[in-house]
Amino acid sequence: MPTLWLIVIVLILAAVGYVAGRQRSLSSVDGDVRRLHSLPSFYGWNAALWALLPALLALVAWQVMQPVVLNLSTQPMLELDAAQPGALGLAMADVRRVADGLDLAVQTGLMSAEGARGIAPEEVRAQLGGMGIALGSDVTPQTLAAAQHYRGWADVGQWLETALVLLLSVGGLALAWRATNAEFRARNSVERVARWALIAAACIAILTTVGIVLSLIFNTIKFFGLYPASEFFFGTTWSPSFGGSSSLGILPLLWGTLYISFVALVVAVPIGLFSAVYLSEYASPRMRALVKPALEILAGIPTIVYGLFALLTVGPVLMSVFGQGGVLGVTWMGGGTAVMTAGLVMGIMLIPFVSSLSDDIINAVPQSMRDGSLGLGATPSETVRQVVLPAALPGIVGAILLAASRAIGETMIVVLGAGAAANLSLNPLEAMTTVTAKIVSQLTGDADFSSPEALVAFALGMTLFVITLGLNVFALWIVRRYREQYE
């Protein structure tokens, strides 16, 4: 039976379970809901979950295992050189393609079941080709035999799978049905499942981190095998070159990252906070309904557009102020690409991160807090600054952190706005670049993957990861200290 149908049947069983569980709980107390431990619907859910979860788990496990087992049993038939795992994989793919093709042919009625079983190897390619199933080359008798074997066992496997899943589903249902009585704590059991689901969701974050660390660490180690760590961490020049002998010091990149992020935050945080305060405390509802989504659009504009904006508009404008022949008559700026350019534009992009989120949090501060302050003769702005903002602080810090994170992680704007040159300089009008931008460029560049020039991307990623981790610990500590909890 196709998996889809199996799932549908299990779902139907779950629905039946819901109704049955509900019904049984009700009838066990003669319809007097009050004597039940939980609401009838919880008994229903309980039964439904019992019918659903074990069966689905089994289904998933089977789906993962069956191909593995089948492959193992089919492989010997191919008489291939076992030392070549890749070739084996390819051959198996061919086997499966033939098998699937034959199945499809039977399904669509182009071939009878017997016809498919008795087909000759030399006919296969033509026959299947006629149905739009392309095969790379002619089918060898071995492959065909393997494919037939494969088909046969896949068939059996499918029957077993169907039986097992249905059994589990019905069994689970029966168990839940038996357990259903007035004393049974259905709500607790359903909520336990829900709780585990919540925990599982929270663990995804952990898994992601583990995954990131794992996917970076090996190449990082490889990099440090090729390039001395001390030069990486303390080197002050960044100039990769193809012929080797590159200097790959992280310091200029880190400095650029921090500098550009700082400029961006200097732009985004005040503007974002002011607009949040304006939106939540002063703006009319109509205004708010318009301005807030408008600001949010800023977050969604593709960063390449921001990059072009930096390159084509902001850079030249800054040039005309600070550059040669500019209105200030100074030549502080050598080119349109500068920390300032990227920072400004990035700041604009980050405004909604600060404003929208903070606005929601500020809005959630109870009115009675505001009343308390206004009632003492505080001005609205004093109220906001001294009562509302502190009460909303954890959320606002969260929003700012998010903005900062985004600033650190941004590439396009940096590449187009700040340039690609790694510089260690205090002048905000000079071109610099960031760790992230270099990760991208080293990873997608032309240096070959086992050279330090490409591997350095992993080391950069790892370093950045550790540094931001430190910054976040610090931020958490700050929030803990100043947290105010209202009632």
Partner: protein
């Protein structure tokens, strides 16, 4: 229906601090206050009594324009404070509220320390020149609100971690600390035990020497004890307003009488 229009005796009060005329309040379509005229005398305690939901808090909030913060609320009529219409465009509600302080019905301490709660008003109005003065102000306010003994060892603890009655006294202390000319108190003793209540009543009496106090209360005894004038509200109307003694001994409106004797609610 007969509405208590301004009584002779009341209009002849010598020193009128607040004078409200034709005040109407709507919440959306609900008519919460219906054409109320009241004069509140200086250096006097005025009590507002009336069944729950009759509009006492609403009217109180008109007096320092706290109704501005409720989106659906709409106020009509004139309210003169020291002969100036507080609903005039030129009046700054902030300054108004600094003059007319308020203790809310539900205690609403800031999520800050007890000290900062009380010091908040003095700080924003610059009442203290230095830390020591501020400490003094805080201590004095807490003492007057009968909270000093309980709070003195935990001034840095959050105000929200206090018991219900303690929070209420904290809010009183907070309002007193800014030294408003008029203090509006919405059921300031509802969560207080008799002794704390007596202390707060003492405070009110003390405040009366210099300021005027308006107090909403559900306790007739309290109204009789602390107030010189009493206004009785019913279903959004001001039914009767007179010197307290007369209200409690010889009310002129039958509704007042039945409320006081416990018959209508």
């Amino acid at each position: 229906m007969y509405d208590a229009k301004l009584d002779e005796r009341v209009t002849t009060m010598d020193d009128i601090k607040i004078s409200a005329r034709g005040v109407q309040v709507w919440y959306g379509d609900t008519h919460a206050i219906k054409d109320v005229d009241v004069d509140i005398a200086d250096r006097t305690v005025t009590a507002f009594i009336g069944p729950s939901g009759c509009g006492k808090s609403t009217f109180l909030r008109c007096l320092n324009r706290m109704n501005d913060t409720i989106d659906s609320a709409r106020v009509e009529g004139t309210i003169l404070l020291d002969d100036e219409n507080i609903y005039d465009k030129r009046v700054d509600p902030v300054q108004l509220r600094a003059k007319v302080g308020m203790v809310f019905q539900k205690p609403n301490p800031f999520p800050k320390s007890i000290y900062d709660n009380v010091a908040y008003g003095p700080r924003i109005h610059g009442l203290a020149r230095n830390k020591a003065e501020l400490d003094d102000i805080v201590e004095k306010a807490l003492r007057r609100a009968a909270l000093w003994n309980e709070a003195k060892d935990r001034l840095q603890a959050p105000g929200t971690g206090l018991s219900g009655g303690q929070q209420q006294r904290l809010c009183i202390a907070r309002a007193v600390a800014t030294e408003p000319e008029v203090l509006l108190m919405d059921e300031p003793c509802s969560a207080l035990d008799p002794i704390a209540t007596a202390q707060v009543e003492e405070l009110i009496d003390e405040l009366r020497e210099n300021f005027s106090v308006v107090i909403v209360t559900h306790s007739m005894q309290q109204a009789a004890r602390v107030s010189q004038r009493t206004a009785f509200f019913h279903l959004g109307n001001l039914v009767e307003y007179d010197v307290t003694d007369r209200i409690f001994t010889n009310p002129s409106d039958p509704r007042t009488e039945s409320y006081i004797s416990g018959r209508i609610g």
